[in-house]
Symmetry: C2
Subunit: 107 residues, 2 copies
DNA sequence: TAGGTATTTAATTTATTTCTTAAATACTGA
DNA sequence: TCAGTATTTAAGAAATAAATTAAATACCTA
């Protein structure tokens, strides 16, 4: 929880998540979309990975990153449910939808 | 958005939100729940207020704070919808529930 | 194996956050 | 008005986070 919110507090990191929401990308492809250095991007990637929001997979020379959407959705949804009474009715609904997604593997 | 995520990145600030989810409290009552100094708590309160997550109202000698639950729920829900395709079906549902709450003023 | 590319690690500097104490402001009630 | 309480503002110290450059690691291909 702490790590997730820390990870999300950074604009570049949220931008990385937004890219990965649309496609799996390797470290170089991600870095190319920023003006900061590659090591800086690499550090952002490890913050995101340590938070469990993304996962990496080395394939040959490249390291591919992809989003773990359930992780982000689960953390934020459950936080909202905890703090915002208004959202409590969403809880069962969210769980059901998330489960359906896991079952079918569909988007 | 940036301010909301920055606000949520701090454990003491999330703790403040959790307290305010249950009751309106004044600055002193909030500060009493922490080991840090009152000015430190006051600063956390202004970060939360600048993010639009809480509002304050001065009544006599005291400054009362309360949560703006729609603000937190709306920001996090819409962020989740943007980044996590899995959650998109929740959008209409969330809006409907939030609207119902606004209409009735109920929990 | 050698040279090149991709990525991360390490060391360091800079910037930002968070805390503390002291002082200012604002309200209350004698 | 004066003394006391509640809260915030201000200034500065300490801790964290984020960037950079240089070097290390790992993989690919000739």
């Amino acid at each position: 929880m702490q790590r997730v919110f820390e990870a999300l507090a950074s604009a570049p990191r949220r931008k990385i998540l937004a890219y990965l929401a649309h496609a799996e990308l390797n470290a170089g492809e991600i870095a190319a979309r920023f003006e900061i250095s590659k090591p800086a991007v690499s550090q952002h990637l490890s913050v995101l990975e340590n938070a469990g929001l993304i996962v990496s997979e080395k394939r040959g020379q490249y390291v591919y990153y992809r989003l773990v959407p359930e992780s982000l959705a689960n953390t934020l949804n459950s936080y909202v449910q905890e703090v915002c009474p208004v959202s409590r009715p969403l809880k069962a609904e969210s769980a059901a939808i998330a489960q359906r997604k896991v079952d079918t593997g569909s988007r």
